[in-house]
């Protein structure tokens, strides 16, 4: 069980923004004091560069930095911490893959498979790569409920999409719009039973913050996520990959820290993970990132998911009870299939107006296509309103949302 009052007290923002109803953790999460303090500690006490100085401050910074790599590695059950690469965010991790892996293995006529529910960051890099190389870009559709079609049709449908020519299967674990939790393990194992050479990439940006992930058990080859969506600092993303594949990939960016030796006629590169980490990283932010993971682990990932599911179930019921037909909620009907994200349309009101009137009451939601335009086109809506939950949200927030929407109706009706 989550002790909400205790948790809220650990987020300084609630003191600075009294009455804040924050329902946009899918965009970015709030930060607990221990994370902020840790950033402060680095900048105040040992703000040296990493991997460079011989002096104690630099060694301290390097040790703290590498400790985070270890904490991340354990958190997702990687084989070892060399498999953890720090990037700027999930977007950069995906672009790194499209560049360093995609350009290495995709040839004309090969297939890249993704889904219609992807965030643009897991859609566009592959679409562009396919076009550049002359590969085929294939898209798994959703059913009317917002689950991947694969789920109801069992493996037959996937067999039509995944072939011997498929090199990469890349998909999201949790949809940032529908909240759908995809059956990743089953999808990967079915895909690999059709073609064992497929490389499976999981966009876990909306999964790692909310549920327990074990990369060994999932059977994926790569997963990506962002620190800032899981209570950590901005500017830090993670790419986890199997060491064997990482070693074969092209470097991503060239420069300091990633080279082994440079001569006028040739350069050799460091081994993983440093081969992919050119230039000075977000040192203080990486260092503080481990505090957010420790914080989450203390609460327990299973408790977090349970809390969010309960709240989502409560919210969906409250919204439908109060507004009936005039509210349309997208995504799976069954709470088992979804996480703490609710996207909806309300009457004929424009999402921007809804979000604005809610904002005037201190309620933060997102309005737009949430960087998932292909999905919105598929749903035949231009834009939706999205409310999302995390560990610091409670039923009071839901009640405020309901009251806020009543006001929207009063003003715009």
């Amino acid at each position: 069980m989550i002790n909400l009052k205790d948790i809220k007290n650990q987020f300084p923002i609630f003191k600075h923004q009294p009455g804040l109803v924050y329902l946009d953790s899918t965009a970015t999460s709030l930060k607990p004091k221990i994370v902020i303090d840790k950033i402060n500690e680095y900048y105040s006490e040992y703000s040296a560069n990493v991997f460079r100085g011989i002096y104690p401050m630099s060694e301290k910074a390097t040790a703290e930095f590498e400790e985070t790599r270890g904490v991340v590695s354990k958190f997702i059950n990687a084989n070892n911490s060399r498999e953890i690469i720090f990037t700027r965010n999930a977007t950069e991790s995906l672009n790194l893959l499209a560049y360093s892996l995609g350009r290495k293995i995709i040839n004309p006529g090969d297939e890249i498979v993704t889904t219609i529910m992807e965030h643009h960051s897991n859609f566009v890099p592959w679409q562009v790569l396919a076009e550049e190389v002359g590969a085929t870009f294939k898209i798994i559709d959703i059913d009317e409920d917002g689950n991947l079609e694969f789920k109801i049709q069992n493996s037959e449908l996937l067999k039509q999409i995944i072939t011997k020519k498929t090199k990469i299967l890349t998909l999201t674990y949790v949809s940032n719009v529908l909240g759908t939790i995809n059956p990743i393990k089953e999808i990967i194992s079915t895909a690999k039973s059709i073609n064992p050479n497929i490389i499976a990439i999981i966009d876990a940006a909306q999964a790692v913050p909310h549920l327990k992930i074990d990369v060994q058990e999932l059977g994926a080859d790569f997963i990506v996520f962002s620190s800032h969506k899981m209570l950590g600092p901005t500017g830090v993303g993670v790419l986890w990959g199997k060491e064997k594949i990482l070693k074969d990939m092209y470097p991503f960016m060239y420069g300091g820290d990633m080279i082994d030796e440079v001569y006028v006629d040739r350069t050799t590169f460091k081994d993983v993970p440093h081969k992919f980490e050119a230039g000075t990283p977000a040192i203080g932010e990486v260092i503080a990132f481990k505090e957010s993971i420790k914080f989450l682990e203390k609460i327990g990932m299973n408790n977090i998911l349970e809390h969010e599911k309960k709240l989502t179930d409560f919210a969906i019921n409250r919204l439908i009870d109060t507004f009936g037909q005039s509210i349309k909620i997208y995504g799976p009907k069954k709470i088992e299939d979804r996480g703490g994200i609710i996207s909806f349309s309300f009457d004929k009101f424009h999402p921007h107006d809804i979000a604005q009137i809610l904002a005037d009451q201190g309620i933060c939601v997102r309005a737009g296509h949430h960087c998932a335009m292909p999905l919105h086109t598929r749903l035949k809506v231009q834009a939706t309103v999205r409310a999302s939950f995390y560990i610091y949200n409670d039923e009071k927030d839901v009640e405020k949302l309901v009251e806020g929407l009543k006001k929207v109706k009063n003003i715009l009706k």
Binding site: P351, H352, D353, Q356, A367, G368, M373, Q382, A383, I411
Partner: protein, 117 residues
């Protein structure tokens, strides 16, 4: 300041000049892919001046109210006068404080109008 003032809401609920012209001299569409607002504007000129202007489309309160007020303003104005209008004018016309994101909604009708001049 609340942007949902009575006058704005009144234009939203009962927009002026909403509809289409038969065989307009010119027509043009603009859209904001971010929020899905779409406006088509149609115009008839008499010599250099606007004789009639109408708009239709899907929009939020701000873009609809802005289109309603702007089309009122545009009538019998010359092309040169209208070309000079900018976002500052729109903000003044609406008489409300707009954040960075909503400015785009407010100036969308002006973009449509400028396409027709």
């Amino acid at each position: 300041m609340n942007i949902y003032q009575d006058i704005i809401l009144d234009h939203y609920h009962h927009p002026h000049n909403q509809g289409r012209l038969i065989k307009p001299d010119k027509s043009g569409k603009v859209s904001n892919p971010l929020c899905g607002d779409k406006i088509e504007m149609m115009i008839d000129f008499e010599k250099n001046k606007v004789k009639e202007v109408k708009f239709h489309g899907e929009g939020c309160v701000i873009s609809t109210a802005s289109a309603s007020m702007l089309t009122d303003f545009a009538k019998s104005k010359s092309k040169e006068e209208l070309k000079k209008l900018n976002s500052k004018f729109i903000i003044k016309m609406l008489g409300i404080d707009l954040g960075m994101t909503r400015i785009k909604c407010a100036v969308l009708p002006l973009e449509a109008l400028h396409k027709l001049l």
